[in-house]
């Protein structure tokens, strides 16, 4: 006989006909733990036990459930903390996305100015300075050659 608790399968008992037909337990399961009981073999297994409610501890005089209640509260608190952390991460992501969006909006709100500035920079860069300087240099060189020729 098996108990699968939150995806993990545990062997609870090995029952054999005419040998071990009954076993005793003292196991507690929380309902929200996703517990499934299963049997391997031919025979069926009858399970018996008690159910407890955390809301009415006075009905369960035979069991001290204060620890279980505390454990349940701790589990719920843990879940809440995890949810809060997740929410915090999502909030952070949203903030960064918002910042990016506002940045993009700002960029898109000044397209002409930026384009003009870019255009002027590009045109300034695309103006060829070299031919002008080369031209001047050529003139200078020509003048120097002429002077040297005249000197000769």
């Amino acid at each position: 006989m098996y108990a699968e608790v939150e995806g993990k399968k545990h062997i609870l008992a090995h029952l054999v006909a005419d040998r071990t037909e009954q076993v005793s337990f003292d196991l507690y399961f929380r309902i929200d733990q996703d517990v499934t009981f299963s049997v391997q073999g031919k025979g069926e297994v009858h399970l018996g036990g008690y159910k407890h409610s955390l809301l009415s501890p006075t009905n369960n005089n035979d069991v001290d459930i204060s620890n279980l209640k505390l454990m349940n509260m701790m589990m719920k608190t843990k879940k809440m903390i995890l949810e809060l952390l997740e929410a915090r991460v999502v909030l952070k992501m949203m903030k960064t996305t918002k910042m990016k969006m506002t940045k993009m909006m700002k960029m898109s709100s000044q397209p002409q100015r930026t384009k003009k500035a870019l255009f002027s920079v590009k045109t300034a860069q695309s103006r060829p300075n070299l031919p002008k300087t080369n031209h001047n240099n050529n003139h200078k060189r020509a003048n120097q050659n002429n002077q040297s020729n005249n000197n000769r």
């Binding site: 699968e4 054999v16 337990f25 499934t36 399970l47 036990g49 159910k51 407890h52």
Partner: protein, 44 residues
């Protein structure tokens, strides 16, 4: 309050489907056969 469930081969039983309380305390597991040695529980 008592809780009971019958688990048959190839028919797993989910705890949620059998109990409506917060906690279950499992006490016994008894091997049963189909009809051959049923015990009649009765109060006299």
């Amino acid at each position: 309050m008592f809780w009971g469930a019958v688990v048959k081969p190839n028919e797993p039983v989910k705890l949620v489907d059998t109990a409506d309380s917060d906690i279950l305390r499992l006490s016994t597991a008894v091997l049963g056969t189909q009809g051959s040695n049923n015990i009649d529980l009765s109060i006299h």
